[in-house]
Symmetry: D2
């Protein structure tokens, strides 16, 4: 039986990516699309690349009959999401792609997002959506909170290493290179082609990037004690993809072995042979994450590189992977699309 | 029953694109991959973006047991292809992606490619692979010759107009903008990122581009008299995509109506409403071709713009579409992947 | 004696380009910079690439003491410029980079810009700033109106051909490829890196682009009768540069000879040997325009390709070239910077 | 008196960049250009962007009359340079842009470059060309060895910090992002536009990059004891520019103060206010290096970001800066060109 899907906030990049992926998903069918400011338009007017797909028109959220919906993806802006979700039917399965339900502790939310949470009770209910580490809770969950895209890239590199204690927990450094679609369709000068192409710069450096809240929460939980990583993101002239260069202190072979063992059976996480490092070009448009490990010339230091597509494995692909679990579908359904190269 | 597929020349871009598309094709399975200079390697070594797919290793052509192959894609370089195909089993279904069998007349081949054809008898047998216009012959065919990618973009814009005589046949001009993957994986200075990015220039201008051979052959056949178009290609700093701006003399509304009518039932050819023109970004990675028509301020002049992905609809996607017909599979099988945006 | 320069509208791309060029100009010194919304900021805050230059702070126009200014560049938005210039001192030398004074006929202005002109008397006084063709009037002029960047690219290719009557005046077609900085620093979705990079599309097609007003005015004046060209601009994923592919009917050799003769002594206009066509990469960041001519395979048809940098020769470089004439400086002063490659 | 300049190896990117810069240099004139494989060609054929400059034709080295040359730039490939320079007149002033004379110790050279040095006696004579730190020796020198471009970016960030001992010398990490022109005009698949654009990956990771030899030599000399840094370069889809993200342990304010003080009088090194970090877009095409410092949220950790143009400040601009000193010209002569933006 095909599952009936609604997407709230379909006029942004993650909304469009959900439509792109569901277009060839064997078990899902889109029955409702919302976009408040563009209500009344056809999806093909907002995203002509979806012109060939027969889709419902964009409506306002309140026009959707959620009784006819099996699962709802929320691809709404941060902060407004919590109020919207609070008002949705309490038995509706929801996969949220915003940052609103990623942090379990209301104080953490307020610290990183600068305002009190408007749906504290739902915050407790939400399951953190890093599929490979929360499978059972996600399958049972009603509200699943998609992870930050950068947070996903860093965690795939680090979670097994922290759990296995093969690295120094007090000296972890993530130097991250991110494509521009992670910033969404927002109109800012530094996202213009004329200003971004052909160059690079940092953003939210110095420990200010909000995905640090997720790192802190997750890594500390794994370690059973506070873990604080250093994290410097850079914006690159590329549309899709994240490359996280993760510097750790520990035996490189042990680091590689730990990751290779942890991800041996994972359909989407691929650990390269020791000494090989991946490229973002090799995962663009797909739900795959490639990881590589190399030792530095300085003994006891390892470099882990993880790459994923921020819009797919880092956001909409992850969301569908979680939805598959919540709906009892095969976890990989609709997600085995190969990357696009060149 | 899953069809068994061989790909000759799998180490180039069109070979890799075939693998990418077949990876999620419900009716095809790759049983052999050849690449003479890279024989012995795994496909994932040559194209790490295919790492997640279980594929046969690269071998030399003579190592393939063609008795176990239902259909063979030839993605070999121009000129060497004809000798290879001549030596393949005479009952093997073949879709050729090279230029070797596109021109029916050996004299035309020699004129445009600068050497006599080495398999003249096969040249006669070959069916020209522009699916939407040769469906029946392709379905019955044994050897189908894929079209040039630029030639496809131009023909989708022009064939119905020439057939319907709604334009002046003696004043057709194609100004074409092509992405760089059309040049293949060849190592040339002007294809380097440092030299191509951030700029544009013409290539093979002045009536020297070989796809003119296809235009001449096809347009003259439709018109029943010689038709010679003007054609200026430009290389653009983009990896995938062709935008053909086609200038014709005729009534713009009639031009639009003719195209809209001709392609009304086509799954992959989408004609936009009159006055709207398409973008290459809206078809990247897909088998779709979008077409738009606008009238100029000068009465009696119309501009037709067609966009397609040179590697997909212009080459490997087209090849699979043809193979689907030859194998009795649904024509759209494996080809409904949505474009990638952004 | 160093000339004292003011720049109004210094916070846009053409304003910044003026500063970049004047930074190494031997005869000019910037004494005032205005930017209404950014008044009070330092130029280095708005454009950090100018950090090394000692510049006056950004002020509001009314704060400038024009008695201390020898020449004023106006790099303000279209339509608001005319009111500003109307209120400047009547003896101030002005080079305007906006579209407001390019069209001599108020009716033409209203037709192309959709509103009546607010300074009709100044419109008559303004000299059209295509330096190579209006040198004497510019040298004597008080108010010089910089040309459209696309208009410059097209005119360099066509003016001598129309004057010499070596081409058919009723069948001229300009297919133009433009870099994105021509759109300025405006915040629009289609100018975002995520949406523009890696693809191309037309804009203002069908005879709607405003630079057609300049083509009509100038070409008709040269020909002594109305000339209407066809003009289709395309937006390319490049920051700087325009490539105009100009299709004409006439003898290719005569076309080449006419251009080569006309520009023989020009310091900035370079005609390539017959059969060679230029690339935008070869003029980026410079005041040079390269032109090439090739014959089509169809007799009597020639293709002229002209390339220039829209911000330099198409706008701010041209403006300085005109200012040099107006101030009695050598025409090439400060403008011999080589292009940047790669 | 204008100095007479020869450039050996003028057909590569650094050679062309030398010509670009010297084109507007008030004290230098190019009298000879060599390019062995392209001898007999005009420079404008190899680099059409230099078309407007009157230049001597390309010749073979042995055709140059060095008696008529005041200073010779060597922009030849690594390893072949040493043999060429060994055979040049012993009193000729030489600025070498290759890696051949950067390492003083022959054993170090052999370790990093895999072969014995062919001109050991010259190796001792060569002055390391990081202008700001070797000014007097360079001014007196006959043979100056230009630094690696990455090595320059890292050293500008670190030298004063090591000298002042404000950071932990045993935990220095350089995560570097490099544009593709640093790889030269070499024909490799991963430098093709189709494979590089839109993505990123590491190269020479794990302590294998040869510029580590320079870091080791210089930092150890400053510290008076061995210093070994960690260094991971990444290739970015941009043509020019290096961004070095340098992670150090030390007080961020002290780090900033040390750099600001050290570079207070430097014409080309600009330290941003504390907490601001630079972009590669702000130095492209120029001889400037911008540096910024920020503190991490973890106390006692600072991030230093330095950006420079690999072809200019990292190579050819640095070479001219050194040549100015060697020839008694003002150090900044010909080098105050503003960056190009956008």
């Amino acid at each position: 039986m095909t599952q009936r899907i609604a997407i709230l906030g379909a006029s942004g990049y993650t909304g469009a990516e959900l439509v792109r992926l569901i277009a060839t998903h064997p078990g899902m069918r889109i029955v409702a699309l919302s976009a408040d400011r563009k209500a009344g338009m056809a999806m093909a007017e907002v995203f002509p690349f979806l012109r060939h797909i027969d889709l419902p028109g964009l409506v306002r959220i309140e026009e959707i009959d959620f009784a006819q919906v099996d699962l709802c993806f929320c691809a709404l802006p941060h902060a407004t999401t919590q109020a919207v979700i609070r008002d949705l039917p309490r038995d509706l399965k929801i996969v949220d792609l915003s940052a609103d339900f990623r942090l379990r502790d209301p104080a953490d939310y307020e610290k990183w997002y600068g305002q009190p949470h408007a749906a504290v009770e739902l915050q407790k209910e939400a399951v953190y959506g890093l599929t490979e580490f929360y499978r059972e809770a996600i399958a049972r969950g009603r509200l699943v909170a998609g992870t930050g895209c950068n947070a996903a890239a860093g965690q795939f590199a680090l979670r097994p290493l922290i759990a296995a204690r093969v690295i120094d927990l007090d000296d972890i450094l993530i130097d991250l290179k991110a494509g521009v679609s992670g910033a969404g369709r927002s109109l800012k000068e530094n996202l213009l082609h004329a200003e971004l192409s052909g160059g690079t710069h940092t953003y939210s450096a110095g420990g200010r990037h909000r995905h640090l809240g997720e790192f802190d929460q997750e890594f500390s939980a794994i370690a059973g004690r506070p873990v604080r990583v250093q994290f410097t993101p850079h914006l690159l002239p590329m549309n899709r993809g994240i490359l996280a260069t993760v510097y750790v202190k520990g035996d490189p072979q042990a680091v590689h072995r730990t990751l290779a063992t942890a991800y041996a059976g994972e359909p989407f996480l691929k650990v390269l042979p020791f000494g090989q490092l991946p490229s973002t070009r090799d995962i663009a448009g797909s739900n795959f994450c490639h990881l590589g490990v190399i030792g530095d010339r300085i003994a006891g230091r390892a470099v882990v590189v993880s790459v994923l597509d921020n819009l797919t494995k880092g956001s909409s692909g992850q969301a569908i992977q979680n939805a598959n679990l919540m709906l009892g579908l095969p976890e990989t359904a609709g997600l085995m699309l190969a990357p696009m190269f060149p």
